[in-house]
Subunit: 209 residues, 2 copies
DNA sequence: CAAGTTATGAATAACGTAAATCGTAACCTT
DNA sequence: AAGGTTACGATTTACGTTATTCATAACTTG
């Protein structure tokens, strides 16, 4: 009958308790630092709690589980990466250039995770393996970014208007996985800049038919 | 100075000794059966040797290592899968249909491995993780298949002729990874038939510009 | 010399146990 | 009640040891 925990609109799932609490921010910051330095699997909740002088169980006032905390940080990282790609996209005018930058930008960010923020890369990998919600939200945001570009291109007349919009956007969104998916990047073991460009060109030509 | 082992032309690497030896065939068959039933990691060389009444070290007369044996079987499986896709491709005339069948066919075979031949799927997964040569050879064969179709399409006038051939073929070949790569399939956890079709259509439209 | 085997060392994997870790409940304190 | 802690059970993880397994070398036999 009564609702015990406040469900914050638009907030990530797995969270509980007061949304705008000083402690929540502290926890998130400590978690970010530890995950970044020691990795998700190697940092314990006790580590995080100790860093801000709290007992471990108290973390559960704000997060359902360790995974929920991981998802929150993971979402931050993925969102930031996508935001940076959006900046790159915003810096050019034509839908063609924008779309190309989605591919090259994502490739560059993915490769950057792998090389410059190895622990974050590992956490993203875990999030992929365990199908965390952060991943679905990222894919959705990526889809929306691509969809906006394609809609704009259709309106401006740069892109064709006949093929089904959602299907096409979904396919092109999936294609970017080739260069951002942490498993594939790790396996490739090298920058996939050229490949990303080539695939981007395929996508672009399919739209400028 | 002298060449101790015969290097067979076109043969898989990691093999030694007489090429056309009765024992080699027996070993390969026993290996195939065991890998298929118990998986690559769980079967020991002793298992294989025992199955055909040989001592373990004698296997080394024909193969450099367990991995070499694994690569041989893995190549067989991948080649067979690709051959079946080639059959599907051969059954239609137009380059457009052919290309579409490369995508849907690979998706179907990949999904088939995962569901009907789980141990083989696992072995292919190992071959991907450990970057076996069988994988590179498969990718090359896949590239060649796609290249033949696109060249044919260019000659028949179905496909455009302006974009760089090798780059385009490489990109489209990479795109098929989305539906055949064992890691991605496993993670998706469902058939990617629709997605494969959608991406195939993107590739096709890029060529019929 | 072709077709094998036995002996053996180094690297890996399997296993059982001890220790940490996650997560809950019940309890304190202002 | 908000803001915490201590106590504690059930899973996981880490670890050290034993047992396998891979791979080579040297040996045997027809």
């Amino acid at each position: 009958m009564e609702q015990e925990t406040i469900i914050e609109a638009g907030g990530a799932p797995g969270q509980r308790g007061p949304i705008d609490h000083k402690r929540r921010q502290q926890i998130l910051q400590a978690a970010d630092e530890h995950f970044r330095l020691y990795g998700y699997r190697k940092t314990t909740l006790a580590d995080i709690a100790k860093a801000i002088n709290l007992s471990t169980p108290y973390l559960y006032k704000f997060f359902d589980s360790k995974q929920a905390l991981g998802e929150a940080i993971c979402s931050q990282c993925l969102n930031r990466a996508l935001a940076e790609v959006e900046e790159l996209v915003a810096a050019v005018k034509s839908p063609v250039d924008k779309l190309r930058r989605v591919f090259t930008g994502l490739e560059s960010k993915g490769w950057g995770f792998l090389n410059d923020e190895r622990k974050i890369h590992d956490m993203v990998l875990v999030s992929f393996e365990e199908r965390w919600g952060s991943l679905a939200r990222f894919k959705d945001a990526r889809f929306q970014l691509i969809r906006r570009i394609i809609v704009q291109g259709r309106e401006s007349g740069d892109f064709e208007r006949k093929t089904p919009l959602e299907e096409t956007c979904g396919a092109i969104s999936n294609m970017t996985d080739l260069f951002f998916h942490p498993m594939l990047l790790e396996q490739a073991g090298k920058s996939l800049e050229d490949e990303a460009l080539a695939v981007a060109n395929v996508a672009i030509r399919s739209l400028t038919a």
